[in-house]
């Protein structure tokens, strides 16, 4: 990739990834509200908003982060499987995306229940679930770990990376 294209890809990846992190933080706030609020309307609104946030913000950003990350790694000399920090970020991204997609089913069920016009206060107590808080908290930790890896880029090449490196000569600087 040309330097300009590389910067564009990097910008897209950082935007999507940090945006995803921010969206999960907002989602966590909604989950806490849904779990702790004494107000039925707030509990309903929290679960309905969580489902919308999931489909229209979290899922698109998850895929955008994954896609731009793949472009970034495959389009640069870092590669996808050569360095441990890239590999770990990939695993974090893929697993978080899969769990998110699976969890959307649960969120949909919670939102459907919250949308029922005939729910009583007791039913809403049952609806208040710690599950969204737990899932959002875990996602937040994973994405923070990925962010730390992206910034610090700790050293360490995989066996595949070392083999590729041994086959590829290092280009040294030369005065123009």
């Amino acid at each position: 990739m040309t330097p300009r294209l590389r910067k564009l890809a990097l910008t897209a990846h950082v935007t999507a990834s940090v945006g995803w992190l921010g969206a999960v933080t907002g989602f966590l706030a909604l989950a806490v509200a849904g779990l702790t609020s004494q107000d039925a309307q707030v509990v309903r609104a929290a679960y309905l908003t969580m489902e919308l946030t999931g489909w229209f913000v979290l899922v698109p950003l998850a895929f955008a982060s994954l896609a731009t990350g793949l472009v970034q790694s495959l389009g640069t000399k870092w590669g996808l499987f050569r360095h441990y920090w890239v590999l770990f970020k990939l695993l974090i991204n893929v697993s978080a995306t899969i769990v998110l997609l699976l969890y959307m089913q649960t969120l949909g069920s919670l939102a459907d229940a919250a949308a029922e016009p005939t729910l009583s206060g007791a039913d809403l107590d049952v609806l208040s679930s710690p599950s969204p808080v737990l899932h959002a908290g875990a996602a937040l930790l994973l994405l923070l770990a990925a962010t730390v890896l992206a910034v610090y880029k700790p050293r360490g090449m995989t066996r595949y990376g070392r083999r590729k490196q041994d086959l590829t000569p290092i280009r040294t600087s030369s005065p123009s």
């Binding site: 910067k7 004494q38 107000d39 649960t106 049952v126 700790p154 050293r155 360490g156 070392r162 123009s176």
Partner: protein, 82 residues
Amino acid sequence: MADRDADDDTGVQPHSRSTNGTPRWVKVFGGIALVLVLLFVILLLSGRGGGHGPSRHASPGDRGAHVLPSSVTEHGVRQPRP
């Protein structure tokens, strides 16, 4: 001009010669991940952490064992939990 990756600002170069062997941080991270995955599998198999499908949230009326005394109202008037 040095062939430096434009997106690298940590001083770590993609071409940096890496020492052989797996770095300690990889072993630590990998170990933690393995423990979490095993924990998740155990919870799933034991039935405590599983059931993420719609059946887990069957109609509230079926969950009589979990119904607590009503402490909220439908019209935004708050009442404290007992």
